[in-house]
């Protein structure tokens, strides 16, 4: 059992009662090490900007500690993950498991954004897994130019998400009492008036959403429009008419949030939701000049 101490697992605080578990873990790790321990990559930073404090606070997608692996002036934030879940075959299967996927997605985001709170991070797409540290070094080497360019472009910027919802229709005006629906013609007339009103409201909503986007895009360094979220996904009762991300210099975040608040006050037919700050996920790819339209 002596080689249990050779397992490089910084989390190990295993008590004597866990010896059998340790033995199993050792066996499993041993097997994985033969083929190279699997390393899950979260994000890339400049070596000099490694967010040590944040890394101490977070745990990765497998509950593992996350560290920085340095190379070429860059560092990739990564953690060892079990082959049982993250080797090619199992991973493909696991990704089809929505509950598992959600857990990994949330953990991935927490690592990226915790690190991103302290420094400029370039998020790596979820489920990027390498074999051993050599694999991580290869990843840094092959992406070196792209990472460097993105870091230069995004340094000091954060992403804010703004979603606009059509505010729920005003409670149906208790127009003329129901008893007044004396004739079928009255009824039809009222129905068509209602339809016109709702079409009009919809037009106003769309115009309002466009105004919100134009206003915010004008103050942002970049913007991206994501597809509106389906009500079944967002759990929001109201229809999502704008789902945008804006790239904002860190120090302008407060002003941006205020701007959103002001817009919310002006656009009474809309409901606005602000999320962030996020690491600049949506801006990693330099599409167009940041004024991309869908």
């Amino acid at each position: 059992m002596t080689d249990a101490t050779n397992v490089t697992d910084p989390t190990e605080t295993t008590g004597p009662t866990d010896t059998t578990h340790m033995a199993e873990a050792t066996a499993a790790t041993g097997a994985a090490t033969a083929a190279g321990t699997l390393e899950y990559a979260y994000a890339v930073v400049r070596e000099a900007d490694t967010p040590h404090a944040a890394l101490e606070r977070v745990r990765g997608v497998a509950g593992e500690p996350v560290r920085a692996v340095r190379h070429l002036g860059l560092a990739v934030l990564a953690g060892p993950v079990p082959a049982a879940d993250f080797d090619e075959g199992p991973l493909r299967e696991r990704l089809e498991d929505l509950t598992w996927l959600e857990g990994v997605a949330r953990a991935h985001q927490q690592v990226v954004d915790a690190a991103g709170a302290d420094t400029c991070v370039i998020p790596v797409r979820m489920a990027t897994v390498c074999r051993g540290e050599e694999g991580l070094l290869r990843l840094l080497a092959s992406g070196r130019d792209r990472f460097a360019t993105a870091l230069d472009r995004l340094e000091g910027r954060v992403e804010w998400g703004v979603k606009v919802y059509a505010a729920s229709a005003p409670a149906q005006e208790p127009s003329a009492e129901p008893s007044a629906a004396s004739s079928g013609r009255d009824y039809l007339r009222r129905r068509s008036a209602q339809r016109r009103a709702s079409e009009q409201r919809w037009e106003h909503t769309e115009e309002g959403a466009r105004r919100v986007h134009e206003t915010l895009a004008a103050v942002a360094e970049g913007s991206r429009l994501h597809p509106p979220q389906d009500v079944r996904l967002s759990g929001e009762a109201d229809r999502n008419v704008l789902n945008a991300a804006y790239l904002i210099p860190h120090e302008e975040s407060e002003a941006f949030a205020q701007r959103v608040g002001e817009l919310a006050g002006l656009e009474t037919a809309l409901r606005l939701e602000l999320t962030g700050p996020w690491a600049p996920y949506s801006f990693v790819a330099a599409e167009g000049n940041g004024r991309a339209e869908p």
Binding site: L38, A41, V44, V58, G60, G63, F86, L91, E93, E96, D97, L98, T99, L101, E102, A105, A107, Q109, Q110, V111, V112, D113, A114, A117, I122, P123, V124, R125, M126, T128, R138, L139, G143, R146, F147, A167, H226, P227, Q229, D230, R232, L233, G235, N243, E254, A257, V260, G261, A264, G265, A269, R271, E273, L274, T275, G276, P277, W278, Y281, S282
Partner: protein
């Protein structure tokens, strides 16, 4: 898992806590409402699955393989259970998804959940 629940962003003073959200509603007394829930799964998936640098690791997972699932995920609520509660379980009947599921002989412990 390193729980780091995003905190509500106080209006006008965004904190350093990432992934928090504030809602500005026309209906609120001051036209402003904040809410303290953790980041919406849709917002997270949109970013971690769709964005970020695509660079080949050694484990070759073609996300296109699960792209179909990803697209459909956009339609799914916070969790499978919640979705099922709402009667949204089309993926279980979706031929393209279930054929893939069949192709991969899965021996995981989720059968009780699937039966639920």
């Amino acid at each position: 898992m390193g729980e780091r629940d995003p905190v509500t962003t106080a209006y006008g003073s965004p904190s350093a806590s990432y992934g928090s959200s504030a809602a500005y509603g026309a209906s609120g007394p001051s036209g402003l409402a904040t809410r303290g829930e953790s980041a919406n799964l849709a917002d997270i998936l949109e970013r971690v699955l769709d964005k970020g640098v695509v660079i080949a690791g050694d484990i070759r997972i073609n996300l296109l393989d699960i792209e179909l699932l990803t697209i459909k995920l956009r339609l799914i609520v916070a969790s499978v259970d919640k979705a099922k509660e709402m009667g949204i379980d089309w993926w279980e009947h979706d031929p393209s998804l279930s054929s893939r599921a069949r192709r991969a002989p899965v021996e995981n412990g989720t059968s009780e959940e699937a039966a639920g």
